[in-house]
Subunit: 328 residues, 3 copies
Amino acid sequence: MASSRPRDLQLNENGRLRHFLTIEGLSRDLLIRILDTAESFAALPGRPVKKVPLLRGRIITNLFFENSTRTRTTFELAAKLLSADVINFNIGTSATSKGETLLDTLRNIEAMHSDMFVVRHAQSGAAHFIAEHASPRVSVINAGDGRHAHPTQAMLDMFTIRKHKGDFTPLRVAIVGDVLHSRVARSQILALNTLGVSEVRVVGPRTLLPSDARSMGVHVFHDLAEGIRDVDVVIMLRLQNERMDGALLPSEHEYFRLYGLTDERLENAKPDAIVMHPGPMNRGIELDSAVADGPRSVILQQVSYGIAVRMAVLSMAMQSQADLEVEA
Amino acid sequence: MASSRPRDLQLNENGRLRHFLTIEGLSRDLLIRILDTAESFAALPGRPVKKVPLLRGRIITNLFFENSTRTRTTFELAAKLLSADVINFNIGTSATSKGETLLDTLRNIEAMHSDMFVVRHAQSGAAHFIAEHASPRVSVINAGDGRHAHPTQAMLDMFTIRKHKGDFTPLRVAIVGDVLHSRVARSQILALNTLGVSEVRVVGPRTLLPSDARSMGVHVFHDLAEGIRDVDVVIMLRLQNERMDGALLPSEHEYFRLYGLTDERLENAKPDAIVMHPGPMNRGIELDSAVADGPRSVILQQVSYGIAVRMAVLSMAMQSQADLEVEA
Amino acid sequence: MASSRPRDLQLNENGRLRHFLTIEGLSRDLLIRILDTAESFAALPGRPVKKVPLLRGRIITNLFFENSTRTRTTFELAAKLLSADVINFNIGTSATSKGETLLDTLRNIEAMHSDMFVVRHAQSGAAHFIAEHASPRVSVINAGDGRHAHPTQAMLDMFTIRKHKGDFTPLRVAIVGDVLHSRVARSQILALNTLGVSEVRVVGPRTLLPSDARSMGVHVFHDLAEGIRDVDVVIMLRLQNERMDGALLPSEHEYFRLYGLTDERLENAKPDAIVMHPGPMNRGIELDSAVADGPRSVILQQVSYGIAVRMAVLSMAMQSQADLEVEA
């Protein structure tokens, strides 16, 4: 099982997932293993007893430096369905506000026997920083760091796509909206390219697309109809109102006129194209209600599959801890 | 078990409790069934192991749009004693504040595999609205909506009355205070009449009694001594200070002088009358400490029985889900 | 097992720990029993399944009137590792803010079948007050009350000392810093003297040492080098910035110059002396980073052992409840 690939902070010596910080550097095989593991959990919610005892007696700590009820809840649920104990550590009200350094806070929470940290932070690179300094007995899962990465969101999107489309290789996927500021988009692009889709496109106004888009392995479109022509998957991004203050765009109305997804515009995509959105949606800005609630929308499935994908990541990372215990 | 009674949002095809939104429309039989089920749970707290595995692997989500630590805690406890997993979804800090619609938020939480929503909302009808739009796999429990209903509070009151008085039919019950603004009183009146008590009275100043009191099947009294004469049960309501701003009453002191329950006034009731209050109490306003802590007060028993009654409602609603699973 | 020693609020008729409010009045035997019980839990964190079913079906309520994420989290963890159900009752947002008295709030939470209250309060004596008024079926654990006591912190410190030094009797221990305002120091001094160490010293400026220090059975030093000369254990206290406003000290810089622990100064202690701190640390004020992260620092072990010690106290107090159940 030993791997000859170059060492990576995210993998242990056996090539197993130790931390899950970013899609970058992960192999197609590993991503497929996450999707396959999630598949085994996706059937649970339909059963009366939704739990499995995989992580019984394990402690998972949610370290949310940035508030996100929804993401925290899905991780909490995933942990509970694996029978782990969950501690929600509200960083804002804690010792960091008493002058303690971030590293001291981390060392303290580690000393409380956490097996895993689920980290959300407004600063890019925060989860990496924590993983670099964490004890060997702790796994770190990135639940969103600044503009950098949101890898579990990307993987639940991949899971949703595979559920509907099967094979990734022939697919054309368009990501529409504020790609520039989106950690979700960044992670999606990496995952889609690693999984070998035929083409990834980004669609949006110049001010909301990264200048190095082409080097990211994507095709750039500024016209929505053009951008989604003949695609299999349309991923709409959330327009973060708080980022729009700087007059990057004339108005929400103007944005919808140019980049809002309507049934009419969706005609340009393949007839069986699916429509995705990471939520929360702004109806009438990013997309029309007819599209959001229409037959091609898989937006709520994304949420459901998110639990299964997070269960997969948590249990795989804990499995790498088991390697450690065998050695010890 | 199939029922020929007209369909009701609260009942499934087998006449089982699917949602618990209001006492209105529920049969005497069903209310008795809730009380009998609660009886089976009321003995648990005395035991070293207070839990039963009835709802193991089920997910109950507390959706509290209005803050209420105490009610949330009793529901959380009831759920945990049934071995369910509980998610506290703080709506204030969540996506609704990011511009998402209530319905989108609901759909999202549903997609997280919740089996049941416990809903508290400042607006009358909110729990109904949510139940109407919920997926068939989700039960909705009303934990208080505006001035409309607080049915689990009413049922724990009925449970307490039955524990002390046995048969409902010969009883005279007086409800004292701000009946007009009280969802608790509204639900109590419906429950008492459905259970067939001999007489329900409301006692209070004109400004705090509903104008349609008589059509609610109650007798109206403006004098406290008269109102509680020969009753078996005195239910004091909480005076919501925040509602008193509008000068509906001269002062707290004046209120106590006219409607505060004292040992002396309690002489008018039957010698074995019990005194109830939904809490939190304002001592010296709604009632004297001598009464609150006296031998006829059953106020703390109400709190204890509240856990058993909520366990009954949660488990019965989940049972109706099981019907669904058998069909599927 | 019956004891002839005078009755104490903290002990039941069999001399077992019923409440844990203060070190004062507890025997050396009982403190040793707490340490021995903690020893049995200290091995758990290294195992894949960290839980024991000792308190399954028991309800432990965290009553935190004063915010302390870290202490609350360690108690919550200790309770969960014992398989208890935990309720976090946020007192600030609850009924006390609706005009209810503290005692009514307590009676209500008791009525919710709590087996144990873990209490944190800004006022000295609050935990005692609650224990005096609690029902016989409820144990109260003091998680810090005003300037008075923080007995679980003191016991985790004793546990840490015993782990490193074995026998208490030959030890010299120095407590450095703001002893005057520290509930931690007060509890440590009592515990160290009860466990029979050779000498307890307090070290700090006149303004931060209690005037009755000598009657507390400690030796007073104003010079750090002198105070820690030949000691086996150096306990640094946290400098509570919020208490420094009153100009008790010139500045943080000046404080470090006089009382900050550096490697150089630590030379005065025994070569194998250990350095402790209750956290959160102010690096560069109470102690140098070289000391905090150095080979003699056991600061993070204190945190880890804190879980085991809290598990010991919770399980011993619950054991005294079992005495009650046998009688009933």
